[in-house]
């Protein structure tokens, strides 16, 4: 078995990317723009908090004591580095070399915890003693409640009333972890409205509260900050691939995109390496043109959502519409500004996958590799049926979460 410490030694050889953003075209500039996307379109009530964060986040993240605490918790509490697993049977079936980045093995079952660990440490250094968060399926809510329990900090999670009803186990987890789950009763009562409610809470509690956003969305500096916390994923991929294949760069990195935090983390250290292909997989729901879809790159137009200029599903009149996907983690009407830029610039290849194809891919991974993926991650695997790779290609698929939370969906879908 590989000694995890050997990875750490390798990681130190990777150049420090933090602080190099100005010369990197696919990273945020100092105002939080990725090309034309990003920025901070926020009411004045949020300005002091966002501005404080903007001024301090890079400085805090670069402090040795911060890095040490962050790395230590990722190692001992989250269980990092997560394995990079060569999926032999899957590779044979699709006649290419497929590696899985096992974020599903993290504590709490998904990549979300990388970000919440980082942000809770950030909140402590900012002197905040109350945490708020939004959640859709409950994964980010659980990851936030977890780190708040770990640090003994008050936690309020906003969740759409409809999501509370359909995600009961995660609601129970959050309660066990000591968080208060507040129903979002406005609008469509799902993720977008939970996010609105969390922002309203922050407006009403500007001094003592830190808002832990769960994805690479929201006003600057959130998209960049969350991407940096998640970038541990691609940092490890480089070191692990070097060990296994003698090269740092895969030919492709594949990830599912809702808001896009697992994807941002998986792409991060490859963004400015053009020989690495970036593949983003969105949820087509019941079909892109079915009226029940979450394929933002195909259906969205430039607009403002939750303080960020990005691609956004909306009416001609600029009202934000409600997306649909069988996967609760992918039904966000926007996409992080980084991903909007990857799409618009052509740097990323965007593929959308229907509910049916995702469910089949989830079943296939379970049968071929003994891994039951989250339905979000199943979308990423479904491209293997559609997108041909060369036999010599190295394709890294980010397995962002495990399927335990989706068991009921799998049961209902496959009549198990």
């Amino acid at each position: 078995m590989r000694n995890p410490l050997s990875i750490e030694v390798k990681l130190k050889k990777i150049p420090a990317y933090v602080g190099m953003t100005k010369i990197m075209s696919y990273h945020a500039n100092e105002k939080g723009y990725y090309g034309e996307f990003g920025g901070a379109f926020i009411p004045e009530m949020l300005y002091p908090n966002c501005e404080e964060l903007r001024q301090k986040y890079i400085q805090i993240m670069e402090e040795p004591s911060f890095k040490e605490e962050f790395d230590q918790l990722l190692k001992d509490y989250v269980g990092r580095p997560s394995p990079l697993y060569f999926a032999e049977r899957l590779s044979n079936k699709y006649n290419t070399k497929i590696y899985l980045k096992r974020e599903d093995l993290n504590h709490t079952g998904a990549h979300k915890v990388n970000n919440t660990i980082g942000q809770i440490l950030m909140a402590k250094r900012l002197g905040k003693n109350r945490i708020i968060a939004e959640t859709g399926a409950g994964q980010h809510g659980v990851a936030t409640a977890t780190v708040c329990a770990l640090m003994g900090i008050e936690c309020v999670v906003y969740m759409g009333e409809i999501d509370i009803a359909r995600q009961a186990p995660n609601v129970a987890r959050m309660k066990m972890l000591g968080a208060e789950v507040r129903p979002a009763l406005s609008g469509s009562k799902t993720l977008k409205d939970a996010t609105n409610e969390a922002i309203r809470d922050w407006i009403n509690n500007p001094v003592d509260t830190h808002y832990i956003i769960g994805s690479v969305v929201g006003p600057h500096p959130y998209p960049d900050m969350v991407a940096r916390f998640q970038s541990v994923i691609s940092e490890e991929i480089k070191a692990q691939l070097l060990e296994k294949e003698g090269r740092e760069n895969p030919d492709y990195v594949v990830a599912c995109v809702g808001g896009g935090s697992n994807a941002a983390g998986a792409y991060y250290h490859f963004l400015d390496t053009p020989e690495v292909g970036i593949i983003a997989v969105e949820a087509a729901g019941k079909g892109i043109h079915s009226g029940e879809s979450a394929a933002t790159s195909a259906l969205g137009k430039v607009g403002i959502i939750h303080g960020s200029k990005t691609l956004l599903m909306q009416t001609d009149d600029g009202q934000i519409t409600e997306p649909y996907s069988i996967s609760a983690g992918l039904d966000y009407p926007g996409v992080g500004p980084l991903h909007a830029h990857l799409f618009k610039s052509g740097r990323g290849e965007f593929i959308s996958i229907t509910d049916d194809d995702a469910m089949k891919a989830g079943m296939e991974l379970s049968k071929l590799e003994g891994i039951i993926p989250a339905i979000e991650s199943s979308h990423a695997f479904a491209i293997l049926e559609q997108r041909k790779f060369n036999p010599s290609d190295i394709v890294v698929i980010n397995l962002s979460g495990r399927g335990d939370k989706d068991l009921q969906n799998y049961i209902d879908y496959f009549k198990l």
Binding site: K31, G39, A40, F41, I42, P43, E44, M45, Y47, P48, S186, G187, K192, D193, N196, I199, R200, I203, N204, N205, P206, V207, K301, V302, G303, I304, I305, H306, G307, L312, Q314, D316, D317, G318, Q319, I320, T321
Partner: protein, 255 residues
């Protein structure tokens, strides 16, 4: 630039009462009647809310009115159609208040042009930040004679307040406390010292206080130092209870 109606109104020697309502609420075609009744009742400024699906800075009352208005069928082009003849019947300063996305989708220049055409005097777009406004849109607003109104809050630093004062040429919307709309009512010592702090800054633009004003007592408290005050949620509640009727009763209850 020729003085617009807002600037003229601000020169009057009185405390100004501004009323916010959501266009298309409670009924789709109430917009013009509400404006006319508010003017007849002696209101000084009117903020016409352009409803948005995701009003981040608003509490439940204005959220609900926005949702209802959208369900009634309100949209940007329709609002301009409803307002097409408004200047034949009213002379009160009119401001459109809304979120930036619907304006952005309409096209900022097309929106401003339409505002000028129907006789809108200013805009309040809380999520259009100062720097983006100055870099991209200020010249367009000015070309169409529109006053852009910025918000300040108790947490806004003195330096930023000064920058906002420099960028303003009408009034400053002074949010009374850290809150969404309709969340709190009444003012305590914290607000009083905030009102004093702002008054002592001797800004070039007068301030109109919003958030937390619902009756004559809170109106008087808010305008002790400031030029005027804005009532939103309390008026929406009136419309919810009475429909577009008895507007004069509501206004007379304030002053």
């Amino acid at each position: 630039m020729k003085q617009n109606r807002i600037q003229k109104k601000l020169q009057e020697d009185k405390k100004l009462l501004s009323i916010y309502f959501t266009a298309g609420y409670p009924n789709l075609d109430d917009t013009v009647k509400v404006i006319q009744d508010l003017e007849e009742s002696g209101v000084d400024l009117i903020e016409i809310g352009l409803p948005f699906s995701d009003p981040l800075a608003d509490g439940p009352t204005i959220q609900d009115s926005s949702t209802k208005a959208l369900n009634n069928g309100m949209h940007t082009e329709l609002l301009f159609e409803q307002l097409a003849a408004i200047r034949k019947t009213v002379s009160i300063p009119l401001i459109i208040m809304g979120y930036f996305n619907p304006v952005f989708q309409y096209g900022v220049e097309a929106f401003c042009e339409k505002c000028k055409e129907v006789g809108i005097d200013g805009l309040i777009l809380p999520d259009l930040p100062l720097d983006v406004y100055q870099e991209e849109y200020e010249s367009i607003f000015k070309e169409y004679g529109l006053i852009n109104v910025f918000l300040i809050t108790p947490q806004t630093s003195d330096a930023r307040i000064k920058a906002i004062d420099e960028a303003s040429d009408g009034f400053i919307y002074m949010v009374s406390s850290a809150s969404t709309t309709g969340a709190k009512t009444g003012f305590g010592e914290v607000q009083k010292s905030y009102f004093d702090r702002i008054a002592n800054m001797q800004l070039k633009n007068p301030q109109i206080v919003g958030f937390g004003i619902s009756n004559s007592q809170t109106f008087d408290q808010a305008t002790t130092k400031a030029k005027g005050a804005i009532i939103g949620s309390a008026f929406i509640k009136h419309l919810t209870e009475h429909g577009p009727e008895k507007i004069a009763d509501f206004v007379q209850g304030i002053r």
